[in-house]
Symmetry: C2
Subunit: 311 residues, 2 copies
């Protein structure tokens, strides 16, 4: 059953990647904003148009200072506790017990769970994707100052399609900054408009690729030639802002971040929402799917969006 | 003679560093701007005051587009020729013949030599230092896109004092950008006001330290605690600008640069001017001085400043 289903999907694969052919560009076959804008939408018309055009949106002042402070405290608490319960979904710095990433964030903390359902995030995701949404992946990210490493250019969708079996481009990432973030401490860089091009990458997926790709992605990244052409065509925007800033970006927007020698750490709460109609099938270009804490499988459980303040 | 002279200077060393004691902060004992401002000065009063206050100055539009273009061409030519005459003062990328640095820049190219004497650079240096100036060090820097490495925080003076024997803080660096430089492609970061504090560093200088310190400085960098305190007190400024921008900074201003994953390379022509009255003596904290192409020794030859356009 699984095998034949997988074959069916490969036949109709809209975004083939990591095959035997050369790198190539494929025009996006999916919408970016899946709802028609109305006055009730959780974004202004300009914001919705901006997201459709650029493939991302940076929103300031959605959360009150008190809410941001409570989230920052919760994150510190999680990192402190994380030392004692390190497992697959709690990643520490190499050679240290400092917690760098906590996956399945909403399972680890009630305030973060509430945040993942908040109308100001999940409600916007639901509008953008024109469907009920579920959490494909979530994590608390923390990168220390002085030695924060870069993360090279990639489209998330390329990995999610190849390794997780996400069929179409109908997912959005939401990053809520928990520290001030500027270009010089490694703010997220995005290429506006790059979400309209799928870069089909070369090279097969190694077994258990995620064990190294979470630290530095090797497979599924475009060539320097493609990246230079994309950057030339689209430019690069730094998603800067104070703690509390929300960055929403399409699953296929080319992004990356530089290393950081400043003393200022970076941290964010990160949620990927996928349309329930776009739930995962078998991977399109990997022998087996990644673990559930990296890409939620099984019956898609729609997020129950909640209005009002956190807490 | 050499030994006794060195001992004399150690006794009166205003900026001891790399000794046996702990890290400590020493207040600057030297002026920053050594000339009194007059209407004839090559900087406005505001610019001169800004340099004294911040320890750096970013100047736009000093050079015409045609001059900048000629310099960019000369730099490309030098890098192309450098492959064929790699020596101690021409540094290539590890595992490649791509030229990354050409030291003694004014000895390699006539236009660069003319630039090193230009009133818009050397004339300003002469004003700031209140003395005739000579070139302590110069280089063409080129860092490719996608993989440009970071350079960690340091005060140049700390190294020049310890390893080259520069007695006092009476030198200024001038970096003329030959590519557009923004925070996200690793623009120079400076801590404004940090030039008033000398951070006396721990750890002895290893033999032939410059062979590794040019790639990544290990000795002579402040602790994370000191850097965090300095950044907290002073903040961090990104010296951004298009090709042709001139960045002048005091020898003791704390600075560094991040790595660069963007496709956009960084390049600059870099000249360090020292006051002739501040010529090098024996190193204050190293067994022997660095090579001449890193730190010019011998009789200080004053730059003959030239007015007018390049070329």
């Amino acid at each position: 059953m699984t095998a034949s289903r997988r074959r069916d999907f490969q036949i109709t694969d809209a975004y083939p990647t990591r095959g035997e052919g050369p790198e190539r560009w494929i025009e996006r076959a999916d919408k970016v904003v899946w709802s028609d804008w109305t006055e009730d939408a959780p974004l202004t018309r300009e914001q919705a148009n901006g997201f459709a055009r650029d493939g991302f949106l940076v929103l300031h002042d959605l959360f009150s200072p008190a809410e941001v402070e409570a989230l920052v405290d919760a994150a510190a608490q999680l990192r402190a506790e994380g030392r004692d319960r390190a497992g697959d979904d709690v990643v520490t710095e190499p050679g240290s017990d400092a917690v760098r990433t906590v996956f399945r964030l909403e399972d680890h903390d009630e305030l973060m769970a509430r945040l993942s359902r908040d109308a100001r995030i999940a409600g916007i995701a639901r509008f953008l994707l024109g469907d009920e949404v579920y959490i494909h992946q979530s994590r608390l990210n923390y990168k220390p100052g002085f030695s924060g490493k870069e993360f090279y250019w990639h489209s998330d969708f390329e990995t999610w399609h190849a390794e997780d079996g996400m069929p179409r481009m109908r997912a959005v990432s939401a990053s809520l900054l928990l520290t001030d973030n500027r270009a010089h401490n490694g703010a997220l860089m995005l290429m506006p408009g790059s979400h309209r091009t799928f870069v089909s990458c070369v090279g097969a997926t190694p077994e258990d690729n995620h064990k190294s790709s979470l630290k530095a992605q090797k497979v599924g990244t475009p060539s320097q030639e493609s990246l230079a052409r994309l950057a030339e065509a689209h430019g690069i925007t730094d998603a800067e802002g104070p703690a509390g800033t929300l960055i929403l970006f399409d699953c296929n927007t080319m992004h990356g971040s530089n290393g950081n020698i400043t003393p200022f750490p970076r941290s964010n709460a990160f949620f990927v929402y996928n349309a329930v109609s776009n739930a995962l099938v078998e991977p399109f270009a990997a022998a087996k799917p990644r673990p559930d804490w990296l890409a939620r499988r099984g019956a898609a459980e729609a997020v129950e969006v909640e209005e009002g303040r956190l807490g």
